[in-house]
Symmetry: C2
Amino acid sequence: MSTRRATISDVAREAGVSPSTASVVFSGKAPVSESTRVRVTQAAEALGYTGPDPRAASLRSGRSGIVGVVFEEHLGAVFLDPVQTLMMDGLADGVAALGAGLLLLRDAPHADAHRAATLTTAPVDAAVLIGCSGNLRESLDVVKARGIPVVVIEGDAGAGVPRIGLDNREAQRQAASHLRSLGHRRVAIAALPVRSGWKGAWLDDATEIRIDVTRDRLVGARDVFSDAPVFAAAGSFIDEGLIAGRAIFSGAIPRPTAVIAQSDLLAAGVIRAAQEAGLRVPEDVSVTGFDGIVVDGLAPFELTTLVQPATEKGRAAGRAVTAMLEGDPAASVNFTCEFREGNTTAAAPDLLAARVD
Amino acid sequence: MSTRRATISDVAREAGVSPSTASVVFSGKAPVSESTRVRVTQAAEALGYTGPDPRAASLRSGRSGIVGVVFEEHLGAVFLDPVQTLMMDGLADGVAALGAGLLLLRDAPHADAHRAATLTTAPVDAAVLIGCSGNLRESLDVVKARGIPVVVIEGDAGAGVPRIGLDNREAQRQAASHLRSLGHRRVAIAALPVRSGWKGAWLDDATEIRIDVTRDRLVGARDVFSDAPVFAAAGSFIDEGLIAGRAIFSGAIPRPTAVIAQSDLLAAGVIRAAQEAGLRVPEDVSVTGFDGIVVDGLAPFELTTLVQPATEKGRAAGRAVTAMLEGDPAASVNFTCEFREGNTTAAAPDLLAARVD
DNA sequence: GTCCACATTCGAATCGATTCGACCCCGCGA
DNA sequence: TCGCGGGGTCGAATCGATTCGAATGTGGAC
């Protein structure tokens, strides 16, 4: 009772107009005479009315101005990966036309996890899934059933859902071919995690790879080096690359003359591990990355890598969402990586490559 | 008409119960007999009802499960600053108990910018402002008027708004004192931006500093070196630090024996600039940072810096918001930086310091 | 003087669910 | 046998705004 907050009806009454007119004054969706506008505005001020309640507005209008972005990782991790970062940047850009905010959501992790905000309980106008894994299927169905536009980046959400993809396999194959043409025969792979919660470890063929990106890039590398040993790291970080690199150069496997890392950060770590092991890059061992981001502190190295248009991916997703919200169909887009040769790859060392292989 | 989506009333009718009962089945806010639950669930399934509409639910219940996070920078920038990143990480943690999603918002930039999602138009249960500047005042009032809990990190939102702060001034003074005790007398400062949109440039005393963090740290440094020249960078990046460093070592000012950088990234850039200028760190010039983050690629340097509990700050903000939403009062918290001596500071070079000063 | 067009404004329906107090029925203790 | 406590349901009010077709009024054209 004390002070129920004023509603638009109160304002309308105070201003001596109908609620509909008052509403229009605030939304600007129809012409209003100057005098009316002033009267309503003043009434609002007098009553301490601060504008329409977003909740009510979104109920009636069916629009909340929010685009949900669903990750499968711990939310904190999102902020730590430069590629994601760039993508988010592009995404923010892409939805800017909508004037929508981005709601960060995490793929329901423990299912029963208390009561996390999920795709199904959040008032989103559209959703962007990033590398969606299986867990998400369920919420995805709900969202589709609701008629909420969905776009997937780097993942597969079934028919009818536009995908923003990358030619991971082909690109990675290209890097691998490059190594092969340099004479490398003994190659190891430093891979991204194979599923969420993964702890760095060697992969055996039985290991199921649940993350599309990891799988696709791995397949691309295996297209060229079919039996390269794979150490899958716990995440795309330099430190994890270091761990992977140490494992690779530990002697547990015959020392490779080249390492294919599935991300630039991993590559940076691998390079560091190589140096620790007393190996020169690229003379003793070549290293390739993936992503084409700027890795601080890698100088004087310039990674041989695959430059992916991360920002562009995000932007495309944003545009797709925008289009769908406006009723236009949105097509899937497939981006292409550009191979960039740096100074971390060189001809395979003769002694090792020629003799031993 | 085609297929109006089923509502909870439809489900209730189909199940032969009242809407209220059906609602309760979904929300679980009251006991329901097993038989009823089953009937309702089946009815829902039959009708393709996927659960309550979040919009309607939030209107009636007054809760949306969304916490707004307001930045003053371009959203993309948020994702690029490690400190922000860590803070977001902590924040995500801190609001996890609420099960709320984080809605990224940007401080209304151009006021009339088309129609961006803003604090006033988004259905948020609470808001966290990060380093809020003046522009925000307005939306802030609206939000306060609505009774939405607000917490501010590194900023001042007036009385009644809990603040998560940092002892910027004292901490920076500590670093400055350290330099002084090492014999430094001629010191330059590489500062953070003084307002949004700032382009790197020397500061004169007339320049108004709109960003609290920048001002506080500057005052702390000036407490010790009252007339140190200040170059304020365009952002907290290594590259901007490099630019600042080049300016500082350009000869435009007498060459300093020490540089106080307001962030670790700036410090890294300054170090690089020093090396470019043929100066050795720390023999010829000492450099201090601020933040205590891990700067990739800085090796073999270890910054002398002030370690701030960035993650902890975010977490505290999250907890404060949680408390307020549950009706408890939330107190302001002030965090303290820890001084950490690395190998980028050393005694002032005799020739320069003793003779010239 | 009449009629039309245009610019505004009004009314009433609607968006979809939650909430709160009333109510009913059943079992148990007195 | 009567009163009482509670689990389980139901009705009706409410949340606060938007929307859309209809109504009103005014000035200009004929």
